[in-house]
């Protein structure tokens, strides 16, 4: 019965699966998709190579899971520790740097923790905890969530003590986190790209930026075709080669919102700062 149903569903789909043009599936993060970066660079890639890219935008943790299950050809995320584990465990081939941007801490108009203009993330987070000022955490195993937890550790604060009080984990993407922070007059950690393209700011504004600890590196890797033979190795590698090539890097640098560059290509760098 199930087979017959599948067959019917296939018949009902006007795209014949066999005759489709060349495409790859990239598991990536909400920050790259929602900031509009992919909308800018992917058409350029498709024009040059004839390969269309299907982006599934998730948190970094989830995106790596999709790669682990073999449901994507390429993973393009931002949590170096998790990415390296992904490669050492044999799920992905050589990870490469692509670009970086930075995180910022945003906060409400009144700034109850009094941290506006600070460049010291650790001190600022400590002040937030001491002031019991509401902080919205992604709480979703994303790259941003991992970075946030590392920052709390550096600040010597265990945010779990604020659970049920000022520390609120919503388990959702960057946008919903900012929506919640805006609605509750709370602080939040966000990547600059999503912040710049975010519309529903209400009183929210950047309070901390420019700390070296807020550096945010993106990496790309091919899902291991030895584990998942259906992975489109040639096309996937083509994408990785392109995005780390001068042409791809220039496309990334060329993406701006209101004249502000969102991502800074650094594929050539072996060991970027941060």
């Amino acid at each position: 019965m199930l087979r017959r149903l599948l067959l019917l569903a296939l018949l009902a789909s006007p795209l014949p699966l066999a005759a489709q043009d060349r495409h790859i599936t990239v598991a990536s993060t909400t920050s790259t998709e929602q900031s509009g970066l992919f909308g800018h660079i992917l058409p350029i890639f498709t024009r040059e190579t004839g390969i269309t890219v299907r982006v599934v935008a998730l948190g970094t943790g989830q995106a790596l899971d999709v790669g682990r299950r073999g449901d994507a050809d390429v993973v393009f995320v931002h949590d170096r520790v998790a990415e390296q584990r992904f490669v050492t465990e044999g799920h992905g081939l050589a990870r490469q740097h692509v670009m970086f941007n930075d995180f910022v801490i945003v906060g409400p108009e009144g700034d109850p923790a009094g941290i506006t203009g600070s460049r010291d993330t650790a001190a600022a987070l400590k002040r937030i905890a001491e002031a019991n000022a509401p902080f919205i955490s992604r709480g979703d195993r994303s790259g941003t969530h991992a970075a946030e937890l590392r920052l709390w550790q550096q600040a010597g604060v265990d945010p779990a003590t604020g659970r049920g009080g000022w520390y609120r984990e919503i388990g959702q993407g960057m946008g919903p986190t900012l929506n919640t922070a805006a609605a509750q007059g709370a602080y939040a950690l966000t990547d600059r790209g999503t912040w710049l393209s975010f519309r529903n700011r209400q009183g929210l504004g950047i309070v901390v930026e420019g700390d070296a600890r807020l550096f945010n590196q993106y990496g790309v890797m091919l899902v291991n075709p030895q584990r998942h033979p259906h992975v489109k190795q040639a096309e996937g590698q083509r994408f990785i080669d392109w995005i780390t090539s001068p042409a791809g890097q220039a496309a990334i640098a060329g993406y701006k919102i209101n004249g502000e560059q969102l991502f800074f290509p650094n594929a050539a760098q072996a060991e970027p700062g941060g």
Partner: protein, 233 residues
Amino acid sequence: MNDLHSAVAQAISLVAAADPTLAQIVLLSLRVSLTAVLLAALVGLPLGALLAVARFPGRGAVVAMLNALMGLPPVVAGLLIYLLLSRAGPLGALGLLFTPTAMIIAQAVLVAPILAALTRQVMEGLWEEYAEQLRSFGASPARAVPTLLWDGRFALLTVLLAGFGRASAEVGAVMIVGGNIEGFTRVMTTAIALETSKGDLPLALALGLVLMTIVLAVNALAQGLRDRGLRLA
């Protein structure tokens, strides 16, 4: 209030501009949900009618189960289909995850119990009326099913619309198994969720208004068919 105004204005200008991206999203939404309802109907309607006429041990449990499945959370259905269709899952070789086909399957799974349960309800009433008559012709319960379905076709239209409403309104299942891929698996509800994430609430609401209008149009069309059918009958 301003947001509401600008949502309505945006909805109108989106439709007026016949934005090709929007048109593609709308068409995919309709294709996915209508196909899902069709598939679900092929299973759900006969099953519901059969349950209405058949008497067997454990029937009560099956009916209760169907009724409970009407409340199957879309996220759970999506997750089940995801695990089935994932490359690491039993049907992984088909390569269907993150395609419109996967979305159709997920919605069909959501809708089939609704169609079956509501059909049973409708058909039970009919069966009470006609049981004697059909039996006197020597029809077995199973043979009575097509007759019942045909006789109840106008009531079943409402059942189908309820299924379509469920399919076109859900976001949890199609988000998981479709992946909300731009230009490929993005439908109205996942687009609304995305714009909400981006904080563009007026645009999200505008898309919601467009979706409601389409659902209204589908319902009006069905209503029209039904009225015409009733007049002719």
